[in-house]
């Protein structure tokens, strides 16, 4: 190891990367996959003119977009067990994020699907595609190009909001940092009593910045491409 790095850093960093970052990635992966699948299906269904279906999906979108994500996570983790549904904390966080994310994706998908010209629907119908085949093979693939920038932004938002899992006791990257900070701060018999909060939380911020910044740039680039295309 490099000589100028203090000796407390290595075990702390190892723990945060091996334990914390692993859970962060796990939550983000499940949440993003869930958001994309549910959101694209619901968003496509939102373009159907049958109002009962549309209003049910609209309600879903408005509820999960309107609630603070952390409140959704608390609902799933603390209130659902009352109904007999007890989930692991990390999964509760992932589902909470996915509910919010799917609402965002649904809204973006609705716009993207609606932007595909009528003729595409008619041509596909003329070729013998039913509603499902038409959307799966013709309409949604064309809408995907428009969907890409909001999906990248969603990824950034989900990654950042994985930290909320800390508040229900998940040992994601910020939580591992918090544990290490508190351990190091403990008075001498237990530890050294040193304050490293600035360095540790600063490092967590840097890690998130390094992951998020290229992605927000990418989203902006895709958006510009789309505007000029």
């Amino acid at each position: 190891m490099l000589a100028f790095i203090p000796s407390w850093v290595e075990p702390v960093a190892t723990y945060m990367f091996k334990e914390g970052l692993k859970l962060t990635v796990q939550i983000a992966a499940v949440a993003v996959a869930g958001s994309a699948v549910v959101g694209i299906v619901l968003g496509t269904l939102l373009t159907i003119r049958w109002w009962p279906l549309r209003s049910v999906i609209r309600l879903y979108v408005e509820i999960w977009r309107g609630l603070p994500i952390i409140v959704t996570i608390f609902l799933i983790f603390f209130a659902l067990p009352v109904l007999g549904i007890q989930l692991d904390a990390w999964l509760a966080a992932a589902i909470g994020l996915a509910l919010w994310g799917s609402a965002q994706v649904a809204e973006a998908t609705r716009g993207a699907v609606a932007s595909i010209p009528r003729e595409q629907h008619e041509a596909a119908a003329a070729l013998g595609f039913g509603w499902v085949g038409r959307h799966v093979f013709v309409i949604v693939p064309q809408a995907a190009r428009r969907l890409l920038p909001p999906l990248v932004s969603l990824l950034v938002n989900v990654i950042q909001n994985t930290t909320l899992a800390l508040l229900i006791g998940v040992g994601e990257v910020l939580a591992t940092g918090q544990r290490e900070t508190e351990t190091l701060q403990a008075p001498p018999p237990i530890s050294v009593g040193d304050a490293h909060a600035l360095a540790i939380y600063g490092a967590v911020a840097v890690v998130f910045f390094v992951i998020s910044f290229p992605l927000t740039r990418l989203a902006a680039l895709l958006e510009r491409r789309l505007a000029t295309a």
């Binding site: 408005e62 309107g66 603070p68 609902l75 007999g84 930290t163 508040l167 304050a195 911020a205 910044f213």
Partner: protein
């Protein structure tokens, strides 16, 4: 399915004064943060749009740092790390400060985009009429660009309100969400308290988005300016 849980809705009335106090605190920190974020957004957004050297670059760094790090990490940094260098903020101050800095960063982008969308002919016309650069900003760019920025800035304000639910539990400030846990500890009525919490936030957020639609119609630019 049979529910082994007996709902006790009377608990809402039993705790209504606690809930109302907490609601006031939520609104308090949110409104202070929103006011601050508006000032930050307008001033720094104008500096970005006018490409004022140094200020513009520093603002860009501020915006990117805040937008690319989780708000919970920012709160931890302010509340748990800053005391290490002698800056200790009380919970209330830390709560609105974190929300304001976060909302401000997003608002800079809202207003920058709004100001940049004002056709340059209008600014030139203002200057030609003898307005100073500052006068042109206040009488031409701000009224037009501010209206363009309005919907996206209200969206940011609604996010500020929602983020107050993160700040509260994180710094143990007794706004709605943190207070819910205190009521929960005292009563054990898990389901009821979180349902009430969710409904209150939905009412707040939905009213705010209804306000957007109302204001959008009222503040729409007159046809000649479009």
């Amino acid at each position: 399915m049979t529910l082994a849980y007996d709902f006790q809705w009377s608990f809402i009335w039993d705790n209504h004064s606690l809930i109302l106090d907490a609601l006031v605190r939520t609104l308090e920190i949110s409104l202070i943060a929103i006011a601050g974020a508006s000032v930050i957004g307008i001033v720094l957004g104008a500096a970005r749009a006018a490409r004022i050297p140094v200020v513009s670059q520093l603002t860009a760094v501020y915006v990117e740092v805040i937008r690319n790090t989780p708000i919970l990490v920012q709160i931890f940094f302010v509340f748990f790390a800053l005391p290490q260098i002698g800056i200790t903020l009380p919970q209330f101050t830390a709560a609105w400060f974190c929300l304001m800095i976060w909302g401000g960063a997003f608002n800079v982008e809202n207003f920058r985009a709004g100001f940049e969308a004002v056709p340059h002919e209008y600014r030139e016309a203002g200057l030609a009429l003898g307005f100073s650069r500052l006068g042109t900003f206040f009488y031409v760019t701000l009224p037009i660009g501010g209206r363009i920025a309005l919907p996206s800035s209200i969206n940011t304000y609604s996010s500020v309100l929602k983020n107050s639910a993160i700040v509260g539990p994180a710094v143990a400030y007794g706004e709605l969400t943190h207070t819910s846990f205190r009521i929960l500890e005292a009563t054990g009525r898990t389901f009821e308290i979180f349902l009430v919490l969710g409904v209150v936030y939905l009412v707040l957020v939905w009213s705010l988005s209804a306000l957007i639609r109302l204001l959008e119609a009222r503040l729409a630019l007159p046809k000649e300016v479009r």
